[in-house]
């Protein structure tokens, strides 16, 4: 098994952090994983993205041409990465900011109002965690329990008080559907 994920959005939406938490969750569940960010000029224009590859064996290549899953938090990222999803793959989009269109017939679409759900929890800052929760509901290999552990690992002792809120954010979509 080898799957790759692209997570993309505006700078400030916590895209790189979400990717780091996802990658940590894979590491903690005993899998091989790599995380690779866009950097430099790719980041100009306000969008950022990172690519995570998870594998049972050694990761084959860190940066791939196409992706099994794209998790996109804004319209620009949807437009860009909908083209990069493998045939049969899935794009998971934040419908708070992304119009519900299906430009390709050969991939699956999941729209969830991640921004709105985050605001209902009290802060748009947890949009990225809501997004990971949506991803977990769609992809078997992504697990909310390990995501919570990943969050703890990344944020450390200092941000322990934020754990409950972020756990809620992870679970909010699962509770909705």
């Amino acid at each position: 098994m080898e799957k790759n994920f692209i997570i993309a959005g505006f700078g400030g939406q916590g895209v790189l952090l979400a990717g780091t938490i996802l990658a940590n969750s894979f590491m903690l569940s005993g899998k091989n994983v790599t995380w690779y960010p866009c950097y430099g000029a790719e980041m100009r224009g306000g969008t950022v993205n990172c690519e995570i590859v998870v594998s049972d064996t050694e990761v084959s290549s860190v940066h791939k041409q196409d992706t099994d899953y794209a998790l996109v938090l804004n319209q620009q990222s949807f437009d860009k990465f909908v083209q990069r999803v493998k045939s049969g793959g899935t794009i998971v989009a934040n419908s708070t900011l992304v119009a519900k269109t299906e430009p390709r017939a050969d991939i699956k679409y999941v729209f969830a109002p991640m921004g709105d759900l985050a605001n209902e929890l009290g802060t748009s800052k947890v949009t990225n965690m809501v997004a990971l929760g949506v991803l977990a509901s769609v992809v078997d290999v992504v697990d909310t329990e390990y995501l919570a552990l990943g969050f703890e690992k990344v944020m450390g002792e200092k941000k322990k008080d934020l754990l409950q809120l972020n756990k809620k954010a992870l679970e909010v979509w699962g509770n909705t559907i």
Binding site: T20, A23, N24, M27, N32, V33, T34, W35, Y36, P37, Y39, G40, A41, E58, V59, S60, S61, V62, H63, K64, Q65, K153
Partner: protein, 362 residues
Amino acid sequence: MNNKEKVLIKGNYAIAQAAVNAGLQCYFGYPITPQTEIGEYLSGVMPDLGRAYVCAESELAAINMVLGAVSTGVRAMTTSSSCAVALMQEALSYACGDELPVVLVNVMRAGPGLGYIYPAQGDYNQSVYGGGNGDYKIIVLAPSTVQECIDYTYRAFYLAQKYRNPVILLADGLLGQMMEPACFGENPYPEVDVSSWALTGAKNRDGRAIYSVGPDEKKQIQHIYNLFEKFEVIKKNETSFEEFETEDADIILTAFGSMTRNIKASMKVLRKKGIKVGCFRPITLSPFPHDRISELANKGKDFIVVEMNMGQMYKDIKYAVEGKTKVDLINRPCGEWLSVEEIVSSVEKIVTERGLAYATSV
């Protein structure tokens, strides 16, 4: 940091922390993407440890600060990238002539000139053959994973002092920027005794001078012979490489650094397609594993070199193969790493063009 625990860490941070673990006493650096995190990380760590961190005014100054620091027997390094490493070539030539254990990390970006920050492997020649004057050789280690960034950083400091020779850790933007689980462990190498040459003041001994130049022609000639004899010892003791499924292979894919991962994955795909492919990956780009490549060529194996430059290691493989078998190149100058799909289809194309009877068993 718990050394036994696996952590998800960027290549740049891994190199920085491994250097600290290896006993880095002084860091001198100047920012350049894609390696700036190394300096940023160390600027936070070094002062608390009572060790030196200097924001140098240029790469030129940084590498010469390293020359000064290591001449006193401590471990010191600078880190940089391609076009800025070009600025350091003079000092690397001095460090070889002076036999100083300089450690330089080059996280490659695209050239020539300023180029850009895309990952690339265009500094093979700059590292292995150097841009400095005179006859000299540098030890060059090329990690392919974040774990190896740690392991080879430890090794770089050890080899530099053991042989009194500069060592370059040659990484690339992809490796510097990516995160991967890795474990620091303990620095596995012993301390090196530097007391016979380090400059610590002429106490109870004569003054020592570390220099490369001599108005005495015979001495100068002998000095260069000695340097090359030393490098023969390094070659004998330290040449390292990895091989995968070369035994029954018809074609051997060859790559260095982080491209290693892609050729290994391509090998699996090609084998499923019935093409008997193996992999060979030099770990030390200098000393280069010429002898093993020559042996493999003697067994009739063809080579395909896969690299993110215009064919720099390709020339060394050809040199080692000596025309005994065929050597091909799959490459791109910089930017998006050659994907497994691209490598596989290029290999298939080469096989078809040659009409070779590689594809025999499925």
